[in-house]
Each structure stands twice: as structure tokens, then as C-alpha cells.
């Protein structure tokens, strides 16, 4: 199907299953430990060996010698694979650095070898005995030092402008010019990257943990230089990805090479430190924001310039994304610069662009509101826009930011906030409130599915969509149930296998809307086929209560399927509605924090938000997504910081003891409200992404609350107590 005109009324609008808070259909498997994750797929790869990856101990240089003789002599060791014996490899276009180094080393902990042994312990010990000598080269690891020479990145919208920013900024009666920095961050998903690889002749199967099955097949094909048809990727359960599993990483490539060398299946999991330095991360940013406004608060000039770094050939953190769309203002400028750094590969992490971008823009808005003497909610309301401010002829498909702001303020008790910082004290705690808008772009991706009904009336959906903890299984089941008029327990969902039709996959918060739209298309195809088989006029057929009905004729769905069963398959593709209309998701975050007046420790006390993301397919799992995002926002604001050692070029604090993410005690009660909106220009589901929205702006709301609590404005994330103390000392 092609979606190129706004959706009219369709079976999803019945809302019998869709839109109801629904427990995860895969929940029982997960809480009983019987959902097999990649490393646990023992049954499918009998007789497997274990592989442990050896990472480079230098960040940049050249391998001069590899001596694996000691390792190979150890009991149980089967093979050691390095660039010297791996055979010819390609580099996938999606990879910035290669998955196997040699002779050049591009970053710290880049794979230089894999050791295969009978047991994990043997492999891990032997991996330590592979001696690799390097000629260490001088690398570039300091973004601030590289900033001055960093050009505008290649690609769309890396530089945008409208009007005359410089003149308008100069003329504005109230201005702000501030620079913010965000640190490198690690995905730190619970399940590290893991793969079991097995060869059958020249055909390869990978049981892995991956967000994008078709991309995984493509990238393995480009790396191993074998046809895509010879590669099967299976990833039914994923223990979190956050963008770190958008592309196959060294676990998959090295497992495949190891299995080829060992002539048997090999399983590989990355250790936690490898997740931080061997894989990708969200790059640090430097962001300069300038705002100019009339005294009545109307923004006249807005500029957002950002800098991030990546390995040669890599890409930028597009932290100016939201500034192109969020607020009105006639004179505008955005620039996205990219420096070359020799740190591990920078790449997408949950809400790439907006996550760090909103941490800067929404603090700048708070600072500007204060300069204007205006309430921060009000300042945002009066600068709302219903059109793309860079292309005013382009309207938003649906935009309810103001409702989110006002409803959020009311629910939170925003009117009780004291606008003067440092005025509210409870015991040793300075208490403050802060808010920020939430904004994340909406993207739609082509997505296909196959849907069948068997003679018992059981509906089976197959698509290579992934469930990375988000709840895809359940919303897909809800969609099929709604479309075919069956209860949820009559639907079986099969995901994450490259033998299934190619889906949108999980990324960029496009998975929920796009994959269910693909299932919608397949269900429409199936409905047509069933109607045709029954000799019904497909225009007036209804599917409800397990029956197919047309006029006064009604047939059980099971009977309609017959002994052979019947199936349909289709993809949802998108026309120009995304270009014709700006499509985005909106919200408002409200946060109360306490700052210890003595120690500068910050603790979040209350957090709530109102969100506008079109139809909420499953309010229960959508809420989980949003509170997860809000929690990540707390982490981004207060603690997450992959610290670069500028001498050695790597992330030093590479484990979960030293790289902090929020723990339960850091996260207070979170209130989540969804507006009951529908967006008919996104898909027949009338839904939008919601998985990343909860993160975008949450960190800024925390930072603004910290300022309100103690009067210390910190523009260098994370807001750690040492920075608070410095501010308190000079306040």
C-alpha cells in the first residue's frame, strides 16, 4: 500500500484492542527467563565453541606484530583469527571503522583478534595471551581543540538559514549568547552485544541482538563479501539497544569469522568495557545558542551551532534538529559542524540530535525567559508555531505543544514555583522547579508483514520487525486483532528473522507506527483475499468477533481460512506527506529537584510530563517508553559521562560502577499523560513515534530546576556536585 493521502476512517478507529492498556504478550516468557536472547540460543547451535575478542590497547596506530603462539598452545584453544588469516574482508558502508583492525588501528579496543576455545574460560584466558605490538600514532581526542577547524558536516540541513540572523540578533532588545556542552555517552543497554554464528557450507546464520534485521544482512554481506541470500539473521529478543544495535558490530562479524575458522558454531558476547570502547557511543557536543527577542517575548532571531566529532568518514550529532522546527522567529540559522576525532565510532543513541540538542536549546530558553522577566511556560507558548519556521508554507501535520505546556503546568502545580532562584528551602535541601518542552521528529519507514489465518482461526503475523524491549510484539498483535476482529490471544507474532518480510526495524522512534502500519497493509491484503474467497464485496465486509460479515451473510474466520489457511502480505510505503507536512511529536516536562545546600548533591523529587504523539497504540507500553526516556534524561542531566583520557584516547570509566546511569533511588514517581490526539498524515494508524520523546528535553528540565533551586546555572553537562559547589562558592 502507499500512504500518500491523509487517512480516513479505517478499522483501527474501532479502538477495540488498539489504544487499550495491554500487558506485553511476551511478558511471561521474559519474566520466567524463557525468552531466549542471542547468547542463550544454545539449542540452535549444538556443539558451539566460544569466542572472545581481543581489543586494541592503543587508540591509533599500526599493528607491527601479532604473536598468538602462546594462546594457541593453551588447552582447549581451537583458533585465533586476526587480519592476517581472516581472508579478504570488505567494509560495510554503514561502518565508519572496520570491525576487525589490521594492520591499521582506528580506535581503542577495536577488535584485533578473536580467540576460539572449547570453553568460555579457556577463550577468555587465551585472549589475554595474544601479544600484539603496535606503532602508536598520535591521535586527536579533544573536541574543544578540534572545534575551530571543524567544517560544516556533509548532508541535508547541516546549514540552514532564513532571513538575516546577524542583523536581527544585533537589533534585538533582549539577547542571549550561551554555549553548552554535553559529554560522550554510552548506550549501556542491559544485554551487551552478542552473537552465535553458524555456517552451513557457504551459508551463514547469525543469532544475534540487533535492531535492524535487513541492515544486518546487508552489512554482513558487504563485510564478508558473500551474497545477502546466503545470510540469515535471527534476533527475536533484544535486551535493549538504544541505537547501539542499529548496525552489526564486532560480535557478529568476529563470530562469523571465528565459526568459519573453527568449522563449528561460535558464540561471542562483548564484555561491558567492550560495549563502551569497542562499539559506538553518542558523541560529545559543543553547542552555541543565540536568541534575540522583543521585550514582549517574541523571538526575532534564533541561531544554534553545534560541533561534534567522529572518526574520518563518520557523521555528526545533529543537535540543531529541533531548533529548525520548534519555535517561531523570522531570522534563523543553524549549523552542524563535524570534527575528526580518533575516539571510538560516534553514532546514534536514543533520539540522536534532539537528545543533546534539547539539553542546550531548552536551557537557553529558560535563561532567555529569565532575561525577559517572563514565565518559561509563557515564553514557549508565545513562540509556538503551527508552520515549519524555515518553510512557512509547510504546516505541521498536527501540533499540540501549547496544550502539553498548559496541561502539564496545571497538573504539576507550576504556579507554585518561585521564579527567583534559591528561595525555597526544606531542611538541608534547596528546592526548585524547572520545565522544558519535549520535541522529537517523527519518521516513517517502509515496512512489510505477512499475516495468515489458519483453520482454527489463529492469526499469525510474521515480519522482521524487532522488539528491543519496546513492546513491538504487543502492538503488532493488537493491530492484527483489531484488523481481523479476533481477540488478542488468537494472534501469534513472529519477529526478528530475515526470512520474514522486511520491516521498518527499531530506531529513531519510527518502529511503532511504521511496523504496525505495515501489519495494517498486510491485514488489508488478507481481508481482500478472504472477501474474495467468500465471494463477498470487499467494500462492505466487516471483521468482528471472529466472524467475517457482509450484509446478512456471516462466516467464521476459521472457516473462511479453510484447511489450507489463507494469508496476505504487503508493505506500507510512504508518499510525500512527510515532505508536505512537518511531522513531529511534542510534550512538556516538569521537574522538581532538591539540591543539598552543603554538598551540592542533586536529587530529583518529582517529574511529570504531558505528551502529544498521535494515537497511543498501547498506553501501557508507551508509558514505559516515556518513563524510560525521562529516566535517561535524569541520567543525561546529572551523571552520564563517558570520560575521555586525552592522552590515551579512550573512555576511561568503562564499566557500570564508574559510568553512572540512574538507579531506582534516583528516580521519583513519574506522571505521564498522553493527549488524545490523532495524526491522520502519518499513517493509517494515525500514530507517531513515542519511544524517544520522553528523553528529549527531560535533561534540560532537570537543569532548569537545579538553577531554580540554587541559582547555579551549569552549562556543562552532567551537572555534578563539584560544578554546583563551584557555583555556590561564587554565588
Amino acid at each position: 500500500m502507499k500512504f500518500d493521502t491523509p487517512a480516513g476512517r479505517n478499522p483501527i478507529d474501532q479502538g477495540k484492542v488498539i489504544g487499550k492498556p495491554t500487558d506485553r504478550i511476551d511478558g511471561p516468557l521474559k519474566v520466567t527467563g524463557t525468552a531466549p536472547y542471542a547468547f542463550e540460543q544454545n539449542a540452535v547451535a549444538p556443539g558451539h565453541a566460544y569466542g572472545v575478542i581481543v581489543g586494541s590497547s592503543v587508540a591509533k596506530g599500526r599493528i607491527t606484530r601479532i604473536d598468538s603462539a602462546d594462546a594457541e598452545r593453551l588447552p582447549g584453544v581451537i583458533a585465533v583469527v586476526t587480519y592476517e588469516n581472516a581472508g579478504k574482508l570488505g567494509k560495510a558502508k554503514a561502518h565508519t571503522a572496520t570491525m576487525l583492525a589490521g594492520p591499521d588501528v582506528e580506535h581503542y579496543d577495536q577488535a584485533v583478534a578473536i580467540v576460539v576455545a572449547e570453553t568460555f574460560e579457556q577463550a577468555r584466558d587465551a585472549a589475554k595471551r595474544v601479544r600484539v605490538d603496535y606503532d602508536r600514532a598520535k591521535g586527536r581526542y579533544d573536541l574543544a581543540a578540534a572545534q575551530a577547524d571543524a567544517p560544516i558536516a556533509k548532508g541535508d540541513k547541516m546549514k540552514t538559514a532564513r532571513g538575516d540572523f546577524a542583523a536581527a540578533f544585533k537589533a534585538a532588545p533582549v539577547t542571549l549568547d550561551a554555549t553548552y556542552t554535553t559529554p560522550d555517552q554510552s548506550h549501556t543497554m542491559m544485554e551487551p552485544h552478542a552473537t552465535i554464528a553458524a555456517w552451513n557450507g557457504d551459508a551463514l546464520t547469525l543469532w544475534t541482538s540487533n535492531q535492524m534485521i535487513a541492515w544486518a544482512v546487508r552489512d554482513m554481506s558487504e563485510t564478508l563479501l558473500i551474497p545477502k541470500e546466503k545470510i540469515r539473521v535471527v534476533s527475536p529478543y533484544v535486551g535493549g539497544g538504544f541505537g547501539g544495535k542499529l548496525w552489526v558490530r564486532s560480535d557478529a562479524v568476529m563470530a562469523a569469522l571465528a565459526a568459519r575458522a573453527a568449522k563449528r558454531p561460535v558464540k561471542v558476547a562483548l564484555a561491558r568495557p567492550q560495549v563502551m570502547n569497542n562499539t559506538t557511543h553518542r558523541p560529545a557536543t559543543i553547542q552555541r545558542i543565540r536568541l534575540g527577542a522583543e521585550k514582549n517575548g517574541k523571538i526575532t532571531a534564533i541561531a544554534h551551532q553545534t560541533w561534534s566529532g567522529d572518526l574520518p568518514g563518520g557523521g555528526p550529532e545533529t543537535a540543531a534538529n529541533q531548533t529548525q522546527l520548534l519555535y517561531a522567529g523570522a531570522h534563523r540559522l543553524t549549523e552542524t559542524h563535524l570534527a575528526v576525532l580518533d575516539l571510538p565510532e560516534a553514532n546514534a543513541m536514543r533520539a540522536p540530535g534532539e537528545a543533546p540538542g534539547m539539553m542546550a536549546l531548552e536551557v537557553a530558553m529558560d535563561e532567555m525567559a529569565e532575561k525577559l522577566g517572563m514565565d518559561p511556560v509563557r515564553f514557549r507558548v508565545i513562540n509556538d508555531t503551527m508552520v515549519d519556521p524555515e518553510q512557512p508554507e509547510r504546516k505541521f501535520s498536527d501540533r499540540n505543544l501549547v496544550r502539553c505546556l498548559e496541561e502539564g503546568a496545571r497538573r504539576f502545580g507550576w504556579e507554585r514555583r518561585n521564579a527567583t532562584p534559591g528561595q525555597v528551602r526544606e531542611g538541608r535541601w534547596l528546592v526548585g522547579m524547572g520545565m522544558a518542552a519535549a520535541f522529537r521528529n517523527n519518521m516513517n519507514m517502509k515496512s512489510a508483514a505477512r499475516v495468515g489465518v489458519d483453520r482454527k482461526g489463529v492469526v499469525t503475523v510474521a515480519t522482521d520487525m524487532t522488539d528491543i524491549g519496546t513492546g513491538s510484539y504487543t502492538i503488532i498483535a493488537q493491530t492484527a486483532a483489531e484488523m481481523l476482529g479476533v481477540p488478542l490471544d488468537k494472534v501469534v507474532v513472529l519477529l526478528g528473522d530475515s526470512r520474514f518480510p522486511v520491516s521498518a526495524g527499531s530506531g529513531g522512534q519510527w518502529g511503532g507506527n511504521s511496523s504496525t502500519a505495515g501489519v495494517y497493509a498486510a491485514c488489508m491484503d488478507l481481508r481482500r483475499r478472504i472477501a474474495q474467497k467468500l465471494g463477498f464485496n470487499s467494500d462492505d465486509v466487516t471483521f468482528a468477533d471472529g466472524k467475517v460479515t457482509s450484509g446478512n451473510r456471516s462466516v467464521d474466520l476459521a472457516k473462511a481460512a479453510g484447511d489450507e489457511g489463507i494469508s496476505g502480505e504487503d508493505a506500507m510505503e510512504y508518499g510525500s506527506l512527510e515532505k508536505d507536512y512537518a511531522q513531529a511529536t511534542f510534550g512538556a516536562h516538569f521537574v522538581e529537584v532538591g539540591v543539598d545546600a552543603h554538598t551540592g548533591e542533586i536529587r530529583v523529587r518529582r517529574m511529570s510530563g504531558v505528551y502529544d504523539a498521535g494515537r497511543i497504540l498501547n498506553p501501557k507500553s508507551a508509558r514505559s517508553q516515556v518513563i524510560g526516556g525521562m529516566t535517561m534524561g535524569i541520567g543525561a542531566a546529572l551523571m552520564e559521562d563517558a570520560v575521555v583520557d586525552q592522552r590515551f584516547g579512550y573512555f576511561v570509566n568503562h564499566d557500570l560502577a564508574e559510568y553512572h546511569v540512574p538507579v531506582h533511588l534516583d528516580v521519583p514517581h513519574q506522571e505521564v499523560v498522553f493527549l488524545d490526539t490523532l495524526d491522520d498524515k502519518t499513517s493509517p494508524m494515525k500514530a507517531k513515534g513515542v519511544g524517544e520523546l520522553g528523553l528529549c528535553g527531560a535533561g534540560a528540565a532537570v537543569a532548569n530546576a537545579v538553577y531554580n533551586a540554587c541559582g547555579v546555572r551549569i552549562r556543562d553537562y552532567p551537572l555534578t556536585l563539584d560544578k554546583v559547589l563551584k557555583g555556590l562558592a561564587t554565588a
Partner: protein
């Protein structure tokens, strides 16, 4: 992890004899050692498992104090009614450390013997004099925000990560040991942990094989007990700094011991006669040599002391 041999000790003296052999180490809770073995930061060739030796009771000592068996788990020690009543600072320190699961495994002796959390110690690619004598100290000039500000050396700026030991230092605990010959001795907690000097790999006064059998606490000193741990997240984080305080004891001056400042729990008794937070902090931190990244700890000590004193005054 390197392959190792393993035995279960049958008595403390036998354990000490077994552990005196080169390459041998005790294992109790294993909450730190196993991680270090996986990383090959620790590479023992022989493990002496002491978990079945008993030594897991808390008993009255002869002089009105408490004798805590070396294998009493952190959870049990923190929950003991006598500890909660008479040594509140110790219970609070324990409960501020690690997580419930770790405290269930971690032992009293093992807690004293845990290794530093310096990130360079944990990465075998980097120089570290503590891990590999003579290789250098990557932390000096590197990421040192969490590291020591006082008692450091040109070879090492690591901190001791324990909360429990800081409270024990404030309480003047004594570490009791036995050696391979069956001879026992008592080591004041003040002398138990060492400063790094030019031998940062030697962290305690224990001789090879010498085994901790118990820790004794002197008779209760009364007063108000406070443990304030300042940290970057609300739970499951090592202290940036911590203060173990006994205010208004039945006799003598108040007591203050500090965590997160040094290679050992830091206490300067002479500072305890000072009247206010500023004076105590200045005396306790005299001669401090912080790095640019951890200089914040100096004012933080004074500020935290002020908070502790205020809390104590209100108690």
C-alpha cells in the same frame, strides 16, 4: 581469568598456611576478587576458600565491646541490634555501601581488603604501579575526579573505597589475625591500611598468608552517630567523600573519619579538638595535594562537616 587451583580451608591456621604460598589468595564473598580475576587484574594461582570456617558470629568481647567474625556478612553486621544501638555509625556506613545483593555476600574482612576503584587499576592496558609495580601511574595527569587528595605519592593517588572501614576507623576498631604458625595478633585499624608511598601494591599491614579472624570494637562510646556519604547518585555509588562522625561521645572529643580522601580511611585525631567545621577540615586536610579534577573535595569536606555538625546539633 587464569586457571587456578582451589581448596576449602579447615581451620584459620590451615587457611593461613595455605595462603602463605606464592600466588595463593583467600576468597570469601568474592564480590571484588572475582571481578578482578575476570579482568586479570588479579591472577591468583590458588584460592583458599574460607567460607566454611565459621567466624560468622558477633559476640560480646571481654572488655564490653563486640567481636565481629571475619565472615560476618555486611547485611548481618548492619542489622545486628547491638551494632544498631551502640555503633550506629557502622550500621549506617554499611548500608550506604554497594547494593543489597552485594552486602549479602560481602564479608567484614573482605570489605577491609577490597581494592581501589581507580579506573586505571581496572584496565590492564594502562600503567598502574599498584597493579604492575614500576609501570607508572596513569591516574596522575589522567581522570582523577574520584581519587585521593591527601597521603598520596608520586606513584599512586588511589583511594580506599570502603565505607565500613571509615566507620571502624572512627570507632577505633582492632583487626585480629592469625598466621600460618597459628600465632595471632591485633592490629589497630589506624595501622591496618597503609599509604601508597613507593609501594602502592602493599595496601595493608598483613603479612603473606596472615588471615583476619575478627574485628573488635571497643566498648560503646555513646554520642550521636552520623555517616554522611556524598555521592553522584543516590545509591550504588562509591563516595566522592564521606564522613563518619561520633558527636558528643561520653568522653573526650568528637571523632571524625573520612572516606574518599586517601589510600586509607582518613582520620586526624588532632583535628578533633577544633571547634568548627572549618577548623576540623583545615587540620584534617593539612598537606593535601589534590589534582585540578578533585580539588572540589577540599571545600566539600568542610561543607559536609558543617552539615553533619548541624544535623548532630539538631539530633
Amino acid at each position: 581469568m587464569k586457571a587456578f587451583t582451589y581448596e576449602r580451608a579447615t581451620s584459620p591456621a590451615a587457611a593461613a598456611a595455605a595462603a602463605a604460598k606464592p600466588g595463593a589468595k583467600f576468597i570469601a564473598g568474592g564480590t571484588n576478587l572475582l571481578d578482578l580475576m575476570k579482568l586479570q587484574v588479579e591472577t591468583p594461582t590458588h584460592l583458599v576458600d574460607v567460607n566454611r570456617l565459621g567466624l560468622d558470629t558477633i559476640e560480646a568481647s571481654g572488655d564490653g565491646g563486640l567481636r565481629i567474625g571475619a565472615l560476618v556478612r555486611n547485611t548481618a553486621l548492619a542489622a545486628d541490634p547491638r551494632v544498631r544501638r551502640d555503633y550506629g555509625v557502622l550500621s549506617r556506613a554499611l548500608l550506604s555501601g554497594a547494593s543489597g545483593q552485594l552486602r549479602n555476600k560481602a564479608t567484614t574482612a573482605g570489605n577491609l581488603l577490597q581494592r581501589t576503584r581507580c579506573p586505571y587499576f581496572y584496565d590492564t592496558n594502562q600503567p598502574c604501579n599498584k597493579r604492575k609495580p614500576g609501570s607508572g601511574c596513569a591516574a596522575i595527569g589522567g581522570y582523577s575526579r574520584a581519587l585521593a587528595v591527601i597521603g598520596t605519592s608520586a606513584d599512586c593517588i588511589a583511594t580506599h573505597p570502603s565505607d565500613m572501614a571509615v566507620a571502624m576507623r572512627a570507632l577505633d576498631a582492632t583487626v585480629e589475625t592469625v598466621d600460618a604458625s597459628g600465632k595471632s595478633r591485633a592490629i589497630p585499624i589506624a595501622d591496618f591500611h597503609r599509604l601508597p608511598g613507593n609501594t602502592p601494591w602493599i595496601e595493608t599491614a598483613l603479612q603473606p598468608g596472615e588471615m583476619i579472624t575478627s574485628v573488635t570494637l571497643p566498648r560503646p562510646v555513646g554520642g550521636t552517630h552520623i555517616y554522611r556519604k556524598v555521592r553522584d547518585r543516590a545509591s550504588y555509588a562509591f563516595a566522592t567523600i564521606s564522613v563518619a562522625a561520633v558527636l558528643r561521645p561520653d568522653q573526650g572529643t568528637p571523632r571524625f573519619a573520612f572516606g574518599g580522601l586517601a589510600h586509607k580511611p582518613w582520620r586526624v585525631e588532632a583535628a578533633e579538638t577544633q571547634r568548627d567545621a572549618k577548623g576540623i577540615a583545615a587540620a584534617a586536610l593539612a598537606g593535601a595535594t589534590p589534582t585540578a579534577q578533585n580539588a572540589y573535595k577540599i571545600p566539600l569536606v568542610e561543607r559536609t562537616l558543617a552539615s553533619v555538625l548541624a544535623e548532630g546539633a539538631a539530633a
